[in-house]
Subunit: 485 residues, 2 copies
Amino acid sequence: ISLKGDETKYPFPVIEDAKKRIEDVLEIDAKGEDNHVPRDPRLLRLTGAHPFNAEAPLSLLYDTGFLTPAAIHFVRNHGPVPKVQDEEILNWEISIEGMVQNPMVLTLRDLISEFTQYTVPITLVCAGNRRKEQNMVKKGAGFNWGAAGISNSLWTGAMLGDVIRKAKPHRKARFVWMEGADNPANGAYGTCVRLPWVLDPERSIMLAYKQNGCLLEPDHGKPLRVVIPGVIGGRSVKWLKKLIVAETPSTNWYHYFDNKVLPTMVTPEEAKANKEWWKDERYTVYNLNIQSIIVYPENRELMQFKDINSESNETYPVRGFAYNGGGIRVGRVEISLDRGKSWRLAEIDYPEDKYRDAGIFELFGGEVNVCERMSYLCWCFWKIDVKKIELKNAKDIVVRAMDENMCVQPRDMYWNVTSMLNNWWYRVAVQSEENGAIRFEHPVHATKGGNNGGWMDRIKAEGGNILSRTWGEKEGDDNQDENEG
Amino acid sequence: ISLKGDETKYPFPVIEDAKKRIEDVLEIDAKGEDNHVPRDPRLLRLTGAHPFNAEAPLSLLYDTGFLTPAAIHFVRNHGPVPKVQDEEILNWEISIEGMVQNPMVLTLRDLISEFTQYTVPITLVCAGNRRKEQNMVKKGAGFNWGAAGISNSLWTGAMLGDVIRKAKPHRKARFVWMEGADNPANGAYGTCVRLPWVLDPERSIMLAYKQNGCLLEPDHGKPLRVVIPGVIGGRSVKWLKKLIVAETPSTNWYHYFDNKVLPTMVTPEEAKANKEWWKDERYTVYNLNIQSIIVYPENRELMQFKDINSESNETYPVRGFAYNGGGIRVGRVEISLDRGKSWRLAEIDYPEDKYRDAGIFELFGGEVNVCERMSYLCWCFWKIDVKKIELKNAKDIVVRAMDENMCVQPRDMYWNVTSMLNNWWYRVAVQSEENGAIRFEHPVHATKGGNNGGWMDRIKAEGGNILSRTWGEKEGDDNQDENEG
């Protein structure tokens, strides 16, 4: 078994960038339990030094393109990263147990040699992406994510469905529990996913040991992890040790008390007092919901109008990305410059379709077979040219996406205790500056500390109501629109 | 082969009602091409005498319960109903052709004898359900549906996937085209569905010849139809004659030029002038989107307060139904009495789970095996007790549902040319009447003719803007809320 396989011809550009690895352990990590984990200093730490939870700066993520290198891929850890030596990789063992006829223990070597290997482009997203916006309205139970808790890589490994099929699940089995080798506060991290999804080739649920052609980084599950496309990142268990086939959902602490969207009227106090809320599987988050983000204009970006008059046709490419869950394609992205009264259709680029159109080919020791399915497992990129003069006259830019099931992002925030799956319209405010310039403001800016000039911070300081129809902007003229015919 | 099989023991009540059949041809149909089609006079005709398109009165539909009898099941016909004699039923032929290794011609007799038969509770919904609300804002291309373009029955027959699997589709096949025996204006009605869905047992896509234990009624596809759960009714081809396996979507006129949700900025004129809009498969509607409807209080219902003072705890059960597409469960239903500022959680009853819990049993010559899948293919019923005094003090009741993927109904109407999949919050307005009574108004009332006192009609007459934050109600005090902290 070769763990290299990097010589494969790749039909698209930029793979070399995506394979670039980080070698250095940062000073902040050197004295802690993660002192064996090399990390990219450009990542923004969201929870202090430890455990490591981080996202890339939004524009860096976007500018890097379709494939996110491991070095700037978002990270969500619950505790110290398990330490695995390179020479242990192939001997890493996982067990497949529970409601199966053939319980098994497999090494990673077995997984590679006994099962067909695939390489699949897959977008992972943290359920808490955009949580900071909810925390600005009312502090919930989780830490602040900006809008870059999302990344996209090529993952290589076996299909989980092939492994589970070989173990022969009982007819009554409905879930596959997963457990990692980490040991955070409430025991090994574990959760589950639905068995019918595991067995569905459209879902492409994987046991991956490579990311972008390189062996997994410690932060991303070295030496083996689950990768579940279209589902919140919290289900893609890293440092995988155990698969348990079962009739009911996982009883792991993290499965019960994390990764749920409780009804909006459940307060943090109520959620703490009444554990029953956490045991209702209807509130468990699996599939991601539809989402779109404006990247450019950036937060705090200044636009000058010195040489632009009101007749000018000069345009600015407003752009960003969008994604969705469950393998369902983003069908359209629309922006509004008049707070939802009218909408403009953006162009969408789906780089995943390049893989679909390329047919079957080998990459990193795995078969790329996107062409064999109809599902969409990756993010896409949207763009629309807008006259600069129109931006100057607008109070804001809002974006919303709709998926092929005609599910659309709502105008209203669905506040919830864990502040997950926040997907109300992404709004960039337009503020007047000196000399006729304008400055753009994103809702928030990802960092552990201050808010760096997002509009939510400003509205709160002004005493405005973020959830109002004007997002708390004091603008008398807007109230008149209410009853207009 | 017995076409009866009605003797089977059924573990739940009310099946006898659901099996009640209609024998009489109505006078309005007696002189037309549908003079062989018995119909229930309680159905509301939405497009005049012919073709027949109809829904039940909303409260009748709801009061009838989980199973909708064929007699009051909504009907969507594009032309005259094909005439099939009882003695021809078993000899009815369908062909399976296109990208398959084993093209076949099967009679209904073959379908019953050569394939495992199933009986499945399935909700069908017209893509145009609630279209009248969109037409009140701006007239689109379709006729007026109220909110009862939905019904739920037990369907019996073979799984389409079993049939297609036997025909051995090519590796590159992606769609199954379907064509009916009807002959409306633009040729036989035809459309398609995705092959991976057809092969997915969670989807339960059927070739059905019985509804609620009776042979199909002419309006519902006698003698054989496709039934595609979780997908708009327009894909469930009736009077089925042809299945064609293909690499690309159907080229049938009705597939291209119907059942799409074009982007909201596409006007009827633009849609007519530029056919390219209709060929973008991203806008083709397959899965239903999340929906909830208030049934009680009914439209025009009066609530008296003679014996009720402001301290009274007397409650009223606000209630209705909800549904979703793609096999995804409705996770929660919430109502608001303050226009979305705060929400209350309704109880949900999922009668489909009774079938799931009952295990495998025989019914109408088919196996009920809901217990073997995790998908939800049926509507559910919600209820919440509200103090009457609170209703009196409210301006309206709005309801929204969220599915298990955390897709939520939006506050904003997504107007589109075909006015399909309209799922903005369902709003019942509260109007003051004499003697302290209140009267409830639904948005519209289903009928071909007048609007029978829905609030949209009233707002239009008053010159209000239906799409404003107050739904066009003239209420000065609401404007103050905009900038409150």
